[in-house]
Amino acid sequence: MNNRFKIILLRLLSPIFAIFLAALISSLVIVFIHQNPLKVFVTMFSFSFRRIDSIAIILYNATPLIFSGLAVSVGFRMNLFNIGVEGQYLMGAFLAALVGFSIKGLPAFIHLPLTILSAIVAGALWSFLPIYLKVKKGVHEVISTIMLNYISFSVIHYFIADLLMDKSQKMLNGLGSPLVRMPKLMPTALMPRMREFLNMFGFNIPKHVYLNWFFPLGILLAIGIYYMLMRTPFGFELRAVGHNPDAARTSGIKPEKVYFMGFILSGAIAGLVGLSDLLGYFGYMDLDFPRNYGFNGIAVALMGQNSPIGIILSAILFGFLNRGAEGVQTFLNVPMDTVIILQALMIISIVIITKVMNDYIKRMEKREVSKNASGRTAGVQL
């Protein structure tokens, strides 16, 4: 087989191969819990892809991960590790919920952007302290962001369960207890779903699908980040600082300034992570608001190798794993904990295998290009 063809094929097959191997590894666990691996995977796939609404749900699942993967990757590009996306998005969602329920009487085209903006601001503010400490005092960002994650959990708990709890919930005949949640957001602050839009094109998306406009927004943002990194002076400086802060400084760039702005940007993007859930699904913030998007974003960024396209694709893969897991849980009666272990296992193996495969492909490519360059000798060739 022609080598160049082989490389292209490997490129395309690499993620599939990675998933396959990961499946193989998880099979061991599945066998261990006395299930038939084949049946589990068939269920995952058939459940996920049989119907259009299921695909829409996968994309809905992917939406927060696109944002968090992007947020983490902006940090990685500067050689900073923003573990704080978790806390930043919770604070973002919280402030958005606050703005969403407390301001009344605004038209949607003002209220919704304002709500989104407040999430961005909250995420940015929550990333301010760690980067300030890093730049001014040399505190490692991993330490400070982990601490701030804990603080954000507590702050939100306090506000939701105490200060801002919705006391107006009506109990039926005094039965049951009220939900620990904040008041519901105004309808003007909510993000419309994509259902009606998609139905115009003949897709038949049922009501229970919450895919909303944050998904295309995430993709636009990914494209925007790509342009920012590769085409603007700021992105240029960000990459230079990430690779070699000494050389950047010598050329007149201020690494501290770049770290500062880049990290705040990362936090601002992180602020958006929870909005698809908040403004497109729940409509209120409670103590059970989805967690872990920030941490999963690290895996997404690693797997997507910090490239915006890669991040979108790996977010969708994660969305699929979630969806498939639901199927396995429902139809095969596998306990939730096992499904979570399975998921984590697949994620880890996929991340590792893609890394190994990509290194291999890169080496092969180098060899290949050099073979085709035979005959030419050193010298200027533009």
Binding site: T232, F236, A247
Partner: protein
């Protein structure tokens, strides 16, 4: 006699370039073999193949007569080939001894037998006349000594063939002499030495045989004594080379750079510049001679704004630069060629064109809100590549894939492009071949004739004396002598470089 190394038809290709093109080479046991050639000729690539860092695409290697596949540096050392890296790979906080034995410790049960190791290293030192204190920390030793540590490292691992890539580029003349003494001694003891250098005088001095590479091919070999420097240069370049600088008389203009009583401390609070004063006028090259590590780096970095001034002042065109940022100082038309190109000069994983505009990415020339002007930047890079004959296969290549000399040219082209008034040039020709060195010297003299002020810091004494209008000798954070080239002898300069009697022979 059996050959230590025999290379047959070795070919190594990189994207867009054949770095080694059917190379044939024989290196006899116990000889000092020099490899010379222009920047990008493929010297380092060949050495990396010998030391297992690269695999050849074609061809065969025989080590001591046996066919060898050198698949990794570990394999290379098993075959008794040791590479002395140009960028030292030493751990500053460890002692000399610890650095030497690191990774191949002698074990006594589960612990490390330091006594035995020390004995072995001491024996090596006395056998080859290496003078070095095994207990001093590497952070406190000079560059020449660090290099000795690197050589001891490979000797400790049992190397019989030593590969040295441009070992003299970082050394002061005195240190070169010492290195050569060591190398001759190693040769006497039967070691084989392969080394690369751009300094032809050195090559003619120490080598037993010389192989010349040009554009990836062996174009000839020579024996010193049967060939002159000019002939050798001609072989390398393929046409006659004029090694002759024309320095015109100029009238220095107004003072563009003035340093007064400058004191700088290192982060640990130790004083590294102890009250330095000098002035450089437009149309003048002020040279700083001295062994590296005597404050030259800090002086350059203080002027460009990278380190804080403790006391004293630096003025550019009579404006005090205290508190200004690197960017602000650069915008005052100050250019800086840093001595360490990998640490300060380049962002290695980024592309050639990106490195070529580094620092100018927000200038109107390359930036139209909100985007970089890709086309301008790339056209600019192409024109610089032509002007400086930088050998690249594409402007989108990562700059780390360029040969050492070509990396240096990328920096020079960038720093001299914006028509600076003040040029701080630290080791500007380090690693450049004779042609390129000549070109840079011409450029610097041209800038001088145009009325620019140039501070030339170089470990290469000949370079300093040839280019400068005035020379200061730095020792231990002070300028201990100042003179005009020709006023005092080379020997006297050497004495000052080693800290000789403080005396001011001002030419004014």
């Amino acid at each position: 006699m059996i050959n230590a190394v025999e290379v047959k038809n070795i070919t190594k290709r990189f994207p867009g370039v054949t770095a080694n093109d059917r190379i044939n080479l024989e290196i006899k046991r116990g000889e000092i073999h020099a490899i010379v050639g222009e920047n990008g000729a493929g010297k380092s690539t060949l050495m990396k193949i010998l030391s297992g860092l690269y695999q050849p695409d074609e061809g065969e290697i025989y080590i001591f007569g046996k066919k060898a596949v050198i698949s990794s540096p570990v394999k290379a050392i098993e075959m008794k080939i040791g590479m002395v890296h140009q960028h030292f790979m030493l751990i500053p906080r460890f002692t000399v001894l610890e650095n030497i034995i690191l990774g191949s410790e002698i074990r006594a049960g589960i612990s490390i037998d330091n006594k035995k190791a020390k004995k072995i290293v001491e024996d090596l030192c006395s056998m080859y006349n290496f003078s070095i204190n095994l207990d001093s920390r590497v952070e406190n030793i000079s560059i020449g000594q660090a290099q000795r540590v690197e050589i001891l490292k490979v000797l400790f691992r049992g190397a019989d063939i030593l590969v040295l890539d441009e070992p003299t580029a970082v050394l002061a003349p005195q240190e070169v002499k010492e290195l050569f003494l060591n190398l001759r001694r190693l040769k006497q003891e039967g070691k084989t030495i392969v080394f690369i250098s751009h300094k032809l005088d050195e090559v003619l001095d120490i080598a037993d045989r010389i192989t010349v590479l040009r554009r990836g091919r062996v174009v000839g070999s020579a024996v010193p004594g049967e060939i002159t420097k000019e002939q050798l240069a001609r072989m390398m370049v393929g046409k006659p080379v004029l090694i002759d600088l024309k320095k015109r008389e100029t009238d220095p203009g107004e003072v563009l750079l003035s340093v007064k009583n400058l004191r700088v401390k290192d982060p640990g609070g130790k004083s590294v510049l102890n009250g330095i004063s000098f002035e450089v006028k437009g149309g003048e090259i002020f040279g700083i001679a001295g062994i590296e590590g005597n404050g030259q780096k800090e002086l350059a970095e203080a002027i460009i704004g990278l380190v804080n001034i403790d006391s004293g002042s630096i003025k550019i065109r009579n404006i005090d630069i205290k508190g200004l940022s690197v960017n602000q100082i650069r915008k005052m038309k100050v250019a800086y060629i840093p001595e360490d190109r990998h640490k300060n000069g380049l962002v290695l994983p980024m592309k050639v064109w990106e490195n070529e505009i580094m620092g100018f990415q927000r200038d109107d020339k390359f930036y139209k809100k909100p985007l970089l002007k890709l086309k301008s930047a790339q056209d600019f890079t192409r024109s610089k590549i032509r002007e400086y004959s930088i050998s690249v296969s594409s402007i989108n290549q990562a700059v780390e894939d360029l040969s050492g000399g070509n990396q240096q040219k990328v920096i020079l082209a960038r720093e001299l492009s914006e028509n600076p008034d003040v040029i701080i040039a630290s080791q500007p020709t380090r690693g450049l071949d004779i042609g390129a060195t000549e070109f840079v010297h011409e450029q610097l003299l041209k800038k001088r004739d145009e009325g620019k002020a140039i501070l030339l810091i170089s470990a290469d004494l000949e370079e300093v004396l040839a280019l400068s209008d005035r020379v200061g000798v730095m020792y231990n954070g002070s300028i201990i002598a100042e003179f005009k080239p020709g006023e005092i002898t080379l020997e006297d300069v050497g004495i000052y470089m080693l800290g000789g009697p403080e005396k001011k022979v001002s030419g004014e």
